[in-house]
Symmetry: C2
Subunit: 313 residues, 2 copies
């Protein structure tokens, strides 16, 4: 197993990426190779400084770097020697088994969609977001903002992808799928939700539990919550802001501490043929460590094969 | 001025409605007539029991009552002697100047749209929701769930209606209007948001400040927040659930106490030709008192005339 990591992505790269690598290596029980892509000199210096054991690390030099504000398609095309472009090249050619970056989200999406491509049968890959629940578990809300306009069939596919992720990566047995809606009964909602409900109901690959409302999103009524990326993104950012308010008001609470979404690191792009994880720009060491661990689990559980199987059945 | 109140609407009616009337009368500086519609005997008994001064109260008997679960159109048609049907009849014929109920929301909407009708030029009346902000003020989010699917022009009209309400009822000077979206820059968002932005930008009747994201909804970046009723309802119910979580976790905080949406009572249906206020089913005394006060303010400020003027200019 060889996991590729963009050392230059994120607001605090490469320092925080190095810290994440150190923590991962220290905690890992297995011999997992990490391919660290970025400014080789700079990364090497930091690895030495932080005394990271280098026996399982492969450094790949990238002369260029895609900045946060750059136009995704243009940057990827023009900066072939950037850490993101190299990462996708290594992933596409099988040199690495997963690729992680906290860099330019758009460039990561373009790379995932065009150099890795969607799983056959998946019309729109998606990104989810973790939602902390009071019982200590994590829910998965998707789409988190990549697909602002969706068709019912897209939401139905998100439900399948999200269920497989929840089951195999989050460890939820037979995950409950809820349709984010504005009423509990079938027939409620906007045109999209009304048309999506019957698809989910008849979908034998998922455990559909019906509509969930805004008040259920932070609860554990369902493990996988499906909606288009507009509502999903608004909801997610509002949940993030609750954490900020709680902090500003000096409230100390274990549950609300888990609203610090940054520490989760990032969620994979679901529906592309190989493991790609996009991190939050403000990722710190823990976030990087968590992303590497998720990539490891995705490879170990052979999640891609399970997703492919779901879409050919 | 004569304000009509459905005494039978809401989970705790008529008792809590009576308490609200008592509190309103006790606090009011002016001679405001209240028309109380419901089971006359029962209401009279409660008024006596709570020693409410009756000089400005008019009791109108209603033999029937529309239950919470009843089909709105059917119930309104068949129960002509229900408190809601009588209330709309009195409002339509000018016997009362405003009508308030915490009863069946659907029946209230049907009554507002069909016996009172929309202001000329308004294609879709709307309902907003108050959003508490850290600075102590209230924002207005609309649509809160009545119009699940919207056209750009609907959102543009919500912005006008919301601005007038925020200015004259909430007392916000030159209220800032924000478009709920999933990115800050113009051009971001789903098809609806993309098409709505230029309309808001060119609308001279409002003070448009651009897109706001999920993280801005609980802040004071804008006073009037516009979106379709699907996103609005999900966001509102999620905010309500934050209050529940805070309570369950035993957190005492002045700001989060203001997330108890129940106490605000209800928001008027905006865009219909006369003041109609729909309360939360679980309304208590304070909520009823607040709704009467809002109706009073709407009449005093002649909000309907201001709205009509906006749509004929």
């Amino acid at each position: 197993m060889n996991i590729g990591l963009d050392m230059m992505g994120g607001d605090f790269a490469p320092l925080e990426a190095v810290k994440g690598v150190k923590d991962f290596v220290a905690a890992s029980q297995k011999d997992i190779a990490l391919t660290l892509i970025g400014d080789k000199e700079q990364v090497k210096l930091l690895l030495d400084e932080h005394t990271v054991p280098k026996n399982n690390l492969h450094l790949v030099h990238a002369e260029q770097m895609i900045e946060m504000h750059e136009h995704p398609t243009k940057a990827l095309k023009e900066k072939q020697r950037s850490s993101i472009a190299i990462g996708f090249h290594l992933l596409a050619t099988g040199k690495i088994d997963a690729f992680i970056s906290a860099g330019n989200t758009g460039a990561m999406m373009v790379g995932a969609l065009f150099s890795i491509k969607a799983i056959e049968g998946v019309s729109r890959p998606t990104i989810g977001a973790y939602i902390p629940r009071e019982n200590g578990s994590l829910g998965l809300l998707l789409d988190a903002g990549i697909n602002a306009d969706c068709k019912p069939e897209n939401l139905n596919q998100f439900a399948i992808l999200g269920s497989l992720f929840a089951e195999h990566i989050l460890g939820v047995d037979n995950p409950k799928v809820g349709l984010v809606n504005i009423g509990e009964e079938e027939g409620k909602g906007n045109i999209l939700a009304q048309a999506t409900y019957p698809l989910l109901k008849e979908n034998k690959l998922i455990n559909f539990v019906g509509n969930i409302e805004g008040r259920d999103i932070l609860m554990d009524k369902s493990d996988v919550m499906v909606c288009e990326g507009f509502t999903g993104n608004v909801v997610l950012k509002m949940a993030e802001s609750v954490y900020d308010i709680v902090q500003r008001r000096g409230i100390k609470d274990e549950h609300f501490d888990r609203f610090d979404f940054e520490k989760y690191g990032g969620v994979p792009v679901l529906g592309v043929a190989k493991p790609v994880i996009i991190g939050h720009g403000i990722s710190h060491g823990t976030a990087f460590k968590n992303m590497i661990a998720i990539a490891q689990r995705m490879i170990e559980k052979d999640l891609m094969k399970k997703m492919q199987a779901a879409f050919t059945s």
